[in-house]
């Protein structure tokens, strides 16, 4: 069970217009583990993670070839319903983006759009999601207040709560802490450790210490190519590639 691959990417290429942003990448992502994607700015790591829930479909002029299989089903097949795919593969963004509505409505947004109307059921989901993201004690007395009044770290945890409220099985984090202070970052990192028991997690980060702290596997991207992929400990302590070593020792990037 532990060795099971949740996501298998084969020969993934992506072009923005004429510019190739991802070059023939293949990667296997383990179930219930945290996989970190690191690399210098503009290396394609965000583009890569956005292929896993087809967020790149929203960008004009994108062309994608290759295969991304989740639970052994290629999500780029013609018969795939993108809406239900994104429900199963949740995403948390770089900048906390709670909607301008109440805390409750933010968390209930996903369940509601997927058809849950029963108030009691919604309340249960909201409470559970907020507890799972350690936010419950901080906000339980002001669920009806605007989510925009929360601190940055709280907002980001709210976004995580919102994402897990639809019970996905994969969670994608796209530099989730880059707008947060160290304390808030620590809380999110602890949370990721908790969440991997239930979810398969992929996290993009420009912070190598963060990758080393939270992940089990790490992939290093450079100029759209996956240079090296392996167990985090091994990649950081004993990288096989020269360019990986240069990057993690801070010689460039």
């Amino acid at each position: 069970m532990d060795k099971e691959n949740k996501i298998e990417v084969r020969n993934l290429n992506l072009w923005y217009g004429d510019k190739q942003a991802l070059k023939n990448n293949s990667i296997k992502i383990r179930k219930n583990h945290v996989t970190a994607i690191i690399g210098p700015s503009g290396c394609g790591k965000s583009t890569f993670i956005r292929c896993l829930n087809r967020m790149n479909d929203l960008v004009e002029g994108v062309k994608i070839t290759g295969e991304v299989s989740i639970n052994n089903k290629n999500i780029y097949d013609k018969d795939v319903d993108v809406v239900s795919l994104r429900r199963r593969v949740g995403m948390v963004f770089q900048k906390p983006n709670p909607f301008p509505m109440t805390i409750f409505d933010n968390v209930a947004y996903g369940p509601r759009i997927h058809g849950i109307k029963d108030k009691k059921k919604l309340q249960e989901i909201v409470e559970k999601s907020l507890k799972d993201t350690t936010l419950w004690n901080e906000v339980s007395d002001r669920l009806d207040k605007s989510a925009l009044d929360l601190s940055g770290g709280q907002m980001q945890r709210l976004c995580i709560a919102r994402t897990i409220a639809v019970k996905p099985d994969v969670l994608l984090f796209d530099e989730p802490c880059s707008a947060l202070d160290p304390v808030a970052t620590g809380k999110i990192e602890d949370l990721i450790q908790e969440l991997k028991k239930e979810y398969t997690i992929v996290i993009v980060t420009h912070n190598m210490q963060q990758a080393a702290r939270v992940s089990d596997y790490t992939g290093y991207f450079l100029l759209g190519e996956l240079i090296e992929f392996g167990k985090t400990k091994q990649l950081f302590e004993n990288p096989k590639e020269k360019s990986t070593e240069d990057y993690i020792t801070g010689r460039f990037g």
Binding site: H114, R162, V166
Partner: protein, 291 residues
Amino acid sequence: MGKRLNLENTIRGILLLFSTAALVILAIIVVFLFKEGLMLFQHTSVTDFLFGHKWIPAENIYGAFPFIVSTILVTLGALLISVPLGISCAVFLVEISPRWARELVRPAIELLAGIPSIIYGVFALIIVVDVLRVPFNLATGETILAASIILAIMILPIIISISQDSIDSVPRIYREGSYAMGATDWQTISKVVVPSARRGIIAGVILGCGRAIGETMAVVLVIGNVEKLPLSLLDSGETLTSAILLEMGEAVIGSLHYNALFCLGIIPFLIVLVLSMLSSRLITKRVSRFE
């Protein structure tokens, strides 16, 4: 030295004068309007003026109620038509339409805003009035509804362009957040984008409403101008502003009739003042919210 300082001060003084001119003019208009208008109340009580059903200048009876009701009905009718139309148009232009369509429609809407109101009036008199007469089996198509329709067309550009700006400024990350949870286009638009833009949309509607209340020329041509209480949208009526337009020519300056017409003017003045204050508050708040 003294000369240069003098010049500086003179220029400063002139600029100050110019910059306060608008304020001074506004103050003069307000004082004039109220001075002339409020004289009516030496003869007629405020309640008689606001709720009186009869307007007979020859007998010095001045009840503005029919005009007030006509104005409200015309404006509500116009909003009923233009708000759903305008918001859907704005949503379509920002969220759905291909770029070429947007580029085609935008100048058309701007042009629509620039047409003189008398042209709208003539158009309404010839087309709208006639179109209404037959299906509703009316003696005349010159009705509140006709005025509402033409006003709706006139305020559409305001509602569309302000709503459009406001929807456009909804951060992309809100949309992405919604899509990332498996929302469809429609769910994202109706549950996240439009609610996030609602302040701006409401501001647009309020501005449009103010324009509708103040508009005179187009309305006067098609509303029928009957000084009686309208009971439905298919009755003829007469708005506050059209009454002023029609009667000011024959009112003797300084007479009670003259004062009464100024008094009619105070009502839309106050309403529009409140509406524009409301909308500018909404707009500035919205901006600060999205940084």
